[in-house]
Point group: D2
């Protein structure tokens, strides 16, 4: 961080800034210019410090130079993080695809969807047992019962499951049943929850808050990483803008930018980002062309009767078409869609067997 | 809610929409037009239903007519809610002013600030014991110890205290010590927390989420109200826009609009909404001129050394000036600043004594 | 502007930056730090230069220190600009109020409105003869005929007139008939038009673009000022945000901030900023409490039949109420509403007569 | 448009709405519901009408059903518009790529860039002779001289040229020299300019305004189309959002949505949308994957010395890589990059010759 003093700042003011910086536990370093002085602040600075120093007497401008996130940063760790989920590897240069209903409704529907996701070549089953809803009168999910429905679908299909956890008190329960914990957009800055999933020992997919900056998103990841959980996956799901023709605006810029700033894998969610099923395929393919490590897609056997977000769900047939196009695109661009889970399982079995023997 | 069918929609499609509406537990009512059919949906509809019906075959547009919030709505309850906090009444046509540090730091500073708030004619002491911070490396508050510092300041000054609760697991603790529970902007859609404070038996001040629509804000209030807690206060604290010259954009339009849509009191927070101490007074006065029931202001005896948000804190002297100007403005506009807490206490004592006797 | 080099930047890279800065016509000044070098860029830098220097090898960050606007800046001219329009003074510490129809429709309506504005104590008549409309099929104004209607209303009432000019080719025509030229929000960065009104010899009111930053707004003012026209008035009319409950979001923060950054007067337009007549009064009063030098209000004798923007127009009766409240507020806050135009005229006549004799 | 009356609206209020609708030149059609009445408004309604009717007594809500744009709409013209520029066809299912400097600087640079664009397989040369700049002190382009430099580059390379026109008075000049007229984002609602290019007899590329909704963008196209000019190309160039990590947010959702709403071709501009050269390739490929008909890319032989927007310009080598990747992506996805202009020229020659004979 660089504190630029005003042209006419007094020596006493510069010294006061230096003293203040030291009191906060940072190191200071003064640069004597001809026209003005500059005080560099060294250490793990945080974003709010810009405002805190900016208010001191004689200060003109405060500028952050280093990024406030450390563990999430590619400067600290230049190598791509690869998150292992059973035989799957997320972030290793292949593309993985998650599919499933927004909400877990009936066991029949979830089973049917899970089979369809598997048959189409999808890799992970998604489904919400705990649902954040803007209205207290909307369906809020089946809770624990929903988790068991997902687990049953995993038992039959072999697909790992990802599901949202909304309450710090539920983390243990959800972590006991799910393969990946999902933090929803509305909870991206629920810091108690971030602390808890940081200690849960399971991979976490962190959705970007609907008005979070990229920096805030990476700082939220930093919360999880700082507890020792290195298996963090990011998910771009659209940001809130003035445009109302789509539910959110998919920030495709964010995908290559985050890949440059951070070593964490990034998934695109075109279902929530558009809110319209007919935009899911083109925006999903765009996410992959921009470098996403995978997609999360809403799939429902009967979108007209889904308990939430039917408008943005693909039918199994349309999901299969999307996976097929992703395959063609990925093959052409050198980022192939990962083989089906059963093949990965078969490949990895001898390896594990060897290790075990 | 009104479902407008396409011009060429078939009879079967219209019937399917009607059937679907009934399956979801709503009543339907069909309007036969010459060119197109319209299906009215009656009952407690929720926002997501627009998308869910919009995806059905033959549907052109779905339009909400009634508001999705009920208990928060002035249509349901036309009379202004007045929240009583000790001798104070929030929302009764007078203006109340909350002041205090962003974070509770040392007991000395909090005591000094509390005395200054009281001396200036402020009514409520604010201070954060649990602090949401975007970075895990920033100061996150003194927690329970901070609550006791606030309680000590209340004991000395008689000012009721308001403090943020961030975690559903802390609600009982905080409700045991604070007079008003504050839900921060980042937790406006932390639905588990809303449920919990809805059951806590203490007044709740709900800050608007930094990208929440007015409707989402009132729906979040609805969560609290739906648990039987009618003492909900709203707080406009600035929304996130493209403008970066100020930290947020104070949505002054929201104040009269919310007062029209809802019976709940509305407080303005110009400190967070601007991020700059020299904008706090003019924007605070603007909030009052627009009809706010009060202000929440950051005050610190030594803003340069505040542990958070010093840039937006007023000195005690500047806070006193703001209260004085609010008094002049309020008197002119027929919305007087409430008398100091000691006077209110004195006034209410005989009344209580009479009741007791 | 400060160019912060990367920690490991080579001497050659620093020298290349310095050379580049000089080639662009700026002066450079190097600050040797222990860990990194900094190059200060001196001269009239422009915003785009941040990106242009940021791309050079070895550069970490580029930071603007001085403001890109000069003539509009309070640093250059610390004294409030007062714009004289006949006997009126805009920006002298009193409040002036403009009222009138969005579009000039019939002569009868304009006359009736002008009389009502005058009777209520309004100072300036507004009305659009040339109307920007998002659709080519909407009413686009009566053009020159509308200007003559406005001039006739001025002749009868003595109120100066303000009207929008949208096309550089019309500046001469409009400047010949109007007292103040208005640049609409959609033309705030129509640079040809700004150049032309800069040469027109008439006061100009520059509305903020609907997604313009405060800096872009002041730079647009700079275009006009740079042609020697010092009579520039700014007008905040709401910015586009994600919130759709109101047409725009009135950026009340901008009023005190612009008054601090610039010496130019600032008018608030709550009619366009809210889009709803019942929000015009509270938001207008808020603008005044925040320090605005005046208001621009839509008034129509029969808002239901206005050719544009009826929804946000006040009836003459409601306009009179607003002026009355502004008077009370202004008197209390030490920023009185200016006396009616006839009184100002009477006051200034002897002075002029004396000069003439 | 549908006017929903309040539940308790009187017969007289409904009749007044119907009368009002007819006075404005529309047809009305009343739907008698059991609980409330609805008045349908038929004809070429415009967006502002929602507010104009919404203010009438007894009206609850006004809802637009039909789109306000007609000629731009796929409902009116279901077939893709193909814009012919010499031997090129834009919008015919192939991808075309425009490259060139942001500003026309020296003849040498433009020539070198034009050769590089051609060698890489680009189809159209872009370059700004008239430059909109936020500051009056920045370089504003070489004007007419710049047009002649572009024409010379076309003469040598055979590449058609596209260049911006900012002033209605320059349309004739620019139309005489350029192959495609570009309307910049800041002028998207400069209606005088839109009228003028609508009459210019040359293809027009209309950039989306930086805070324009999709509807406003298509209405701006409607202005041009309504003058009989059917050769309109749209260009998504990023919208202004709260995210400042990139210059704008590329609205990738808009591409498939606009292709669905309109028959006009859509080009993606990842250079302005990101502001960072290293994001241009991934975001450009994303635009193509989402269905864009082409790209507009900034290319400069020496981005460090470009007179504007160097930070976002590709070197010729990076541009060639992007075209190559676009070729691979396009081939895989069934939307091939168009052959080089020389091949197209050769192919079309015999055809023209045959016609002529």
């Amino acid at each position: 961080m660089i504190v630029v003093m005003k042209t006419g700042a007094t020596e006493a003011q510069v010294v006061a800034v230096q003293k203040h910086v030291r009191e906060l536990g940072f190191k200071d370093h003064r640069i004597h210019g001809e026209e003005r002085n500059v005080v560099a602040v060294l250490g793990h600075v945080y974003p709010e410090l810009v405002d805190e120093l900016g208010v001191l007497d004689g200060v003109d401008t405060v500028v952050r130079i280093s990024k406030p996130f450390k563990l999430a940063s590619r400067e600290v760790n230049p190598y791509d993080t690869v998150v292992k989920v059973g035989p799957l590897a997320i972030g290793n240069g292949t593309v993985i695809i998650m599919g499933g209903p927004c909400s877990v409704d009936s066991e029949e529907n979830v089973m049917e969807t899970a089979r369809a996701v598997k048959a189409a070549g999808g890799h992970i089953l998604r489904g919400g047992a705990f649902k954040p809803r803007s209205s207290p009168y909307a369906f809020r999910g089946h809770g624990e019962k929903g988790l068991h429905i997902l687990a049953a679908a995993r038992a039959e299909t072999g697909l790992p499951i990802i599901t949202e956890v909304m309450d710090a008190r539920d983390v243990e329960l959800v972590a006991g049943l799910a393969d990946i914990l999902q933090i929803g957009a509305r909870n991206m800055q629920n810091f108690s929850l971030l602390d808890e999933v940081g200690r849960a020992g399971k991979p976490v997919m962190l959705k970007r808050g609907l008005s979070a900056t990229i920096e805030e998103w990476l700082l939220a990841a930093e919360y999880i990483l700082s507890h020792g959980n290195r298996d963090v996956i990011l998910c771009e799901r659209g940001i809130r803008t003035y445009e109302t023709a789509t539910r959110f605006t998919f920030d495709v810029n964010a995908i290559p930018l985050v890949k440059r700033l951070s070593h964490l894998p990034v998934i695109g969610d075109p279902s929530h980002a558009t809110g319209k099923w007919y935009l899911v395929e083109p925006v999903g393919l765009a996410a992959l062309a921009a470098g996403a490590d995978g997609l999360q897609i809403e799939v429902h056997p009967n979108p007209d009767h889904a308990l939430s977000d039917g408008a943005q769900s693909l039918t199994p047939a349309n999901f299969a078409k999307l996976v097929q196009k992703a395959r063609v695109l990925g093959a052409a661009m050198g980022r192939p869609v990962a083989p089906p889970i059963a093949e990965l399982e078969a490949e990895s079995r001898p390896a594990r067997a060897r290790k075990a023997s």
